[in-house]
Amino acid sequence: MTALDDLAARSEGGFPNLVAAREQTEAGLSGLGGRLAGVEVDADAAVVLFGSWGRGEVTDQSDYDWAVLVDGAERAGVRPFPAEVEAALGMGAKGPGAEGIFGASAFCDHLVDRIGLDADDNTNLSRRMLLLLESVGIVHPVVRDRCRDRVLRGYLDESVEDFRPPRFFLNDLIRYWRTICVDYVGKERRGGDDRKWALRDLKLRTSRKILFAGGLLPILLCHRLRVADMEEYLRGAFDRPSLDRIASAFLELAAVDAGLRAVGAYDRFLGLIADPSVREELAGVTRATAAGSPVFEEGRRLGREIEAGLQALLFETRIEPLVREYGIL
């Protein structure tokens, strides 16, 4: 039984939208693997999916944020070529966006060796964090796992101390979360497709926050461990979806009531945005009209409930001294 199952068993009606999304993810991954079966993939490469696929939260509305991840240095001619993946997956309009983070080859050496400074641009930082926090391999998953573990070991260097969270990793995660928040405004100021503003806003309040908290909690909880045990602990944690890591923390830190409400709110949010009519309505919502939109306001309320649950977990349980000591300054 997963921590999420445990929490669901204590709730009034379980988490039906999460259960459905996990089933859809499983079925979808199986189907995608089949579609890519005839595509040539280099031995040191994996086809990896990120986002809702990595979180186990796929719905009919989900995008296909994929990359070909190479366990090695940058090189030309990596197979499969992007066009081959696109053709095999048949994504249509649900393919990767224009930012260039997905829909291309990525090289593990960059993710491991370029941390901080100018070379660690938004794309590199995003790929590294998403590989750790919410990704799944659909072809050569063992290569994806190897890359993930290399990135993880890169954080657990000689600077890490017994019974303290790995601060290099912690700082990079916090940097990533704040980058997401700042880039949200950057995208808005840049202009462009305003039809995505409301959904982007609601995702920032919900799934992005789950992504961050799902990384933050295991890192902070490393304070219980000796350095020698941290890699195995973090590997185990990151083998599970973000929400399972969070559910586990709610249970372990005796904040079950808050956990029921936070995960319940997230479940309802998934149900909300899985509805095509809701997506259509949100496409017409702007910052100026948001406060008058019942659908947007319902999403915002659910986001607030998720945030409140996470705040109670971080500031009202025995993990609070760690947040205070390492989380802000």
Partner: protein, 229 residues
Amino acid sequence: MNSVLLADPPMALRHHPVGASTGYMAEIRGDWDLLVEEACRVSSFAVELAALSEPELPSLVDYLAATPALPFRYLSVHAPTKHRALSEQEYVAVLAELPAFVDAIVVHPDQIEDPTLYRPLGARLVVENMDSRKASGRYRDELESLFEALPDAGFCFDIAHAWSIDPDMSVGEDLLDRFACRLRQVHLSSVDEGRGHVPLSAEHEELFAPLLDRCRDVPWLLEAPPRLN
């Protein structure tokens, strides 16, 4: 002055978010600008704007429609319980006019005769448990059927009302056990012999602590002025 700036506040006031229910500000009732200003002196994070008497409701609807932005991150409205003249259908229709940014609309169960009429309020409808003076809405079993008819409705846990029924707090614990997933806010105060809300006593603060500890993630709305040490 914001609650976080109060010198040495009672432990309950250190909760986040805490806020005022304007129902206790009887001397300025109806002056929504002033009520909001007074509520901000307790906290600018959460508030409950109380239109406890039905004639107050239209002015609150107008006030919220005309007010560009309020500082609160959680805003609930307490629906009228006194001087009711509207039919139930009309009552719900006015509540439904409240702007979308209102997070919760708190309704007493004894005001609800036909639950199906309240479905348009969706998840914004929040039902409060009643005190010992009332004939319904006090116990888990009495609220259960209401929530079955209103599956999206939330729960407002009035801890002093639960105490008035059972000073051992078993009824309160039972309510939290059953409706934990629906909990949206807490009403916090003590009650006097006439069941009126009075500032939370130090004795009750200690008695209520175990149950309040289960409500750490929701706003606590003060139904009486904060007790300042």
